[in-house]
């Protein structure tokens, strides 16, 4: 046996992207995705145009550091609510992923949604899958140039409108609309409109599945939330294999013994937006969009076999032939219950604290300069700046009072009026008669109460200093 010299070949560790031409698919799951597209986009494009209390209903005013969300005005001090909201989003994502796999990716993720919109425009302008493939293979012609430029113009328009809407959440959109008309946006507004438009155009038009496969962090860690009972999109190998075209002759039952239900039409591959073959099993590139299910079901309908060769099922269900009822029973497993429990707890705490929030805040800042001063008749005086924040949108008059030491009084007016969402530093002098209180620091308490609403009050501890 002569040993042949081993042959070597060079393989590339980086490869050019292969263009994917997903075939359009209609069906139960595709309809659900369009419902999600409509819902999310109506909310996104529509919300900034709504008005509330004579202002934009939802406005994140970064300059004034105030977030307006319908009746609620959030201040920097309310940052905890943003944290809570993000935690809720994260837990909801964990829960949905543990139960339903990549539901978020397949139906609601902006990357999916905008890709869906952009692909729709692409189909309208360049035609269906085969027409697009043909167009791309053609040499440049006037028609190709026209179609391509029309497509990019349409993409660009939607992208710009998206960027404009995004900035409309931070700058009042009616003003922005006027400024955009005359191209007199501020430098930052220009930057963000164009940046967000560019991101939309690039991601939904060019990057598409590359974002899901190589850039998305969620795609990387979602597998840790999967288990044997998580719903995934699966190909029923047992039923489908061996695959192959059915011979025209012969009756079906007879064929069944040697051939599976999969006729190897590759429709499931053609419709896949990430270009994978689901029949190879669960892959990290699968975003769970169920396009292959719709495609396979329509084929099964045509050839007259039951639907569900490719379907939502769990690993366990495929292995142990579980019924849908059994799948649902297994959904209630410890990890799901724990996620649900924590989620309910945080949502309750979040809503509870948001509802019972007092729209009034008080910070007491002892004067940095003077510790304590002696004024006439040996009276001791301390100076404070009360940072009063009326986080309500109505005008309120507040009474300031102070307690904690005998004979403690305010030497400045005790009534202040604040306009809606106004914050003001009110200088306050507090006096204690000669000989009262301990030498050194004494604990006192400021109380602020609205004259028109007894429930609207806050208390804040402070220190009164008696010089030695």
């Amino acid at each position: 046996m002569s040993e042949a010299a081993p042959e070597f070949s060079v393989i590339k560790m980086y490869a050019a992207r292969e263009e994917i031409y997903p075939r359009e698919i209609k069906g139960w799951y595709a309809n659900w995705r369009w419902v999600c597209v409509w819902l999310t986009q109506l909310v996104f494009y529509g919300l900034p145009w709504l008005s509330w209390n004579g202002r934009q209903a939802i406005l994140f005013d970064l300059g004034a550091r105030k977030f307006y969300i319908f009746g609620v005005v959030l201040w920097p001090q309310d940052f905890i609510y943003l944290a809570a909201l993000l935690i809720i989003c994260a837990y909801a994502l964990f829960l949905f992923t543990a139960v339903g796999g990549r539901l978020w990716c397949g139906y609601a993720c902006p990357q999916t949604v905008y890709t869906e919109i952009f692909m729709w425009m692409e189909r309208k302008i360049e035609g269906n899958r085969s027409a697009r493939m043909r167009l791309d293979r053609q040499p440049w012609s006037l028609e190709k140039l026209a179609r391509k430029s029309a497509k990019h113009a349409a993409w660009g328009a939607v992208a710009l409108w998206t960027g404009f809407t995004f900035v409309g959440y931070f700058t009042p959109i009616h003003i922005l609309w006027g400024a955009a008309g005359t191209l007199t946006l501020g430098p930052w507004e220009w930057f963000w409109v164009l940046f967000y438009a560019f991101a939309t155009y690039g991601n939904a038009g060019w990057m598409r599945e590359q974002v899901c496969k190589y850039m998305c962090p969620y795609a990387r860690f979602q597998s840790s939330m999967f288990d044997q009972d998580t719903l995934i999109i699966t190909y029923d190998q047992e039923r489908g294999e061996p695959r192959g075209a059915w011979k025209k002759s012969g009756s079906k039952p007879a064929q069944k013994t040697v051939q599976g239900d999969c006729i190897d039409c590759t429709m499931c591959v053609q419709v896949c937006p990430t270009g994978i073959d689901i029949r190879n099993g669960l892959q990290y590139d699968c975003i769970g969009c169920a396009a292959c299910i719709d495609a396979c079901d329509s084929v099964m309908d045509k050839v007259g076999t039951p639907r569900g060769l490719i379907r939502y099922a769990t690993d366990n269900a495929i292995k142990n032939h579980l019924s849908p009822r059994q799948i649902w029973q297994r959904a209630l497993r410890p990890r799901v219950l724990v996620y649900t429990g924590i989620l309910l707890l945080i949502v309750t705490a979040f809503l509870g604290s948001l509802v019972t929030r007092t729209p009034l805040k008080l910070d007491v800042i002892r004067d940095r300069g003077s510790m304590g001063r002696e004024v006439e008749d040996g009276i001791i005086e301390n100076v404070y700046r009360l940072q009063i924040m009326n986080t309500d949108e109505r005008v309120h008059r507040y009474r300031i009072s102070v307690s904690g030491i005998d004979s403690i009084t305010l030497a400045t007016p005790d009534i202040v009026e604040l306009k809606g969402t106004e914050a003001r530093a009110v200088p306050v002098r507090v006096r204690v008669a000669h000989g009262m209180g301990e030498k050194g620091s004494n604990r006192i308490m400021f109380k602020l109460e609205a004259l028109d609403d007894a429930a609207l009050q806050v208390k804040e501890n402070a220190v009164f200093f008696v010089p030695r």
């Binding site: 070597f8 190589y214 002696e374």
Partner: protein, 310 residues
């Protein structure tokens, strides 16, 4: 270049940086393709890496744009190092430095606000005080430079005069206030314990002093005893205790007390004396700012609304 003792270390660091960058590029280039033995069937699914008897690495290439981003990063860093300092002691083609940036900002601020202060400097202090914008500027200056001692409400504290009453140690005319801020003040009260005699005498004089302002703390009998010894104080504070602004001697006949108006505080002042300094702000703030500041301080105890109306 104080950061490097000689050119060697600068060159050493520059070389290390460039070699590091070149190394990144070479590594990237070398790893973008690998040579592997071809399998028997001619199909090659794996990279040929094999661990733990059977764990094989599938060839699942990264997108090519990803590799280009690495190359672009390397080019970017070279361009950056040419333009900005970062290669040893090389200052960079743009000549950027943090001190220069600070100076530029300072210059910009002077260019922005200089004319404003210059405008106010041409005006009389009382006129400046009637200008709400000038008062707002003055308040911010006060909160930054004066509030540490005089309090943010300018009402002072023990040893630091209250600037909102109409009582002045050196006089409250606009020009005097400006002089005080520009040049500073040094107030001295000598210890009078020895001159007055016994502790009892000190106490009696203190009560006599408190009686000038009709203080509730003044004991009339002790005050009567103290009257005779007050002569030692009258040289500066006057026979009626109304003080002398030329000397900076406080008025003792009002209810304003720099170190407190209780009998204990007054006794301590007499026994130990006081030494008080207001620092000069001439060199630190410059006359233009002090001018606006003086107007603000003057406005604290004077009604500027009548000025604004005329």
């Amino acid at each position: 270049m104080a950061d490097f003792t000689n050119d060697f270390w600068s060159a050493y660091i520059a070389l290390l940086t460039l070699l590091g960058l070149a190394g990144c590029g070479i590594l990237l280039w070398a790893q973008s393709k690998v040579k592997i033995p071809v399998s028997k069937d001619g199909k090659q699914q794996t990279t040929g890496h094999n661990w733990d008897e059977g764990l094989e690495e599938l060839n699942n290439p990264m997108p090519r744009w990803w590799m280009w981003m690495f190359y672009i990063s390397i080019v970017f860093s070279v361009v950056y190092l040419v333009l900005y300092p970062g290669l040893g002691a090389f200052a960079g083609k743009l000549g950027w430095e943090s001190t220069g940036q600070y100076q530029a900002e300072l210059k910009k601020a002077d260019a922005d606000y200089g004319p404003l202060f210059a405008k106010y400097q041409q005006q009389d202090i009382k006129t400046v005080a009637a200008d709400p914008q000038a008062r707002a500027i003055g308040e911010r200056l006060f909160l930054t430079y004066c509030a540490q001692c005089h309090g943010s409400d300018a009402r002072g504290s023990k040893g630091f005069p209250n600037l909102t009453d109409r009582d002045w140690l050196y006089g409250g005319e606009p020009g005097v206030i400006k002089t005080t801020i520009m040049e500073g003040r040094h107030g001295q009260m000598p210890s009078m314990a020895a001159a007055l005699g016994s502790d009892k005498d000190v106490e009696n004089v203190a009560h006599y002093i408190l009686s000038f302002s009709g203080s509730a703390m003044s004991d009339p009998i002790k005050a009567a005893f103290g009257k005779g010894k007050y002569g030692a104080c009258a040289a500066c504070h006057g026979a009626d205790g109304t003080g002398n602004q030329a000397l900076g001697a406080p008025n003792l006949a009002d209810k304003v007390w720099l170190y407190g108006g209780s009998s204990e505080s007054v006794m301590e002042t007499i026994r130990k004396g006081r030494d008080n300094t207001m620092p000069p702000f001439k060199n630190f703030l410059g006359e233009a700012k002090v001018h606006v500041l003086s107007a603000y301080v003057w406005s604290l105890s004077n009604d500027t609304t009548s000025l604004a109306r005329k």
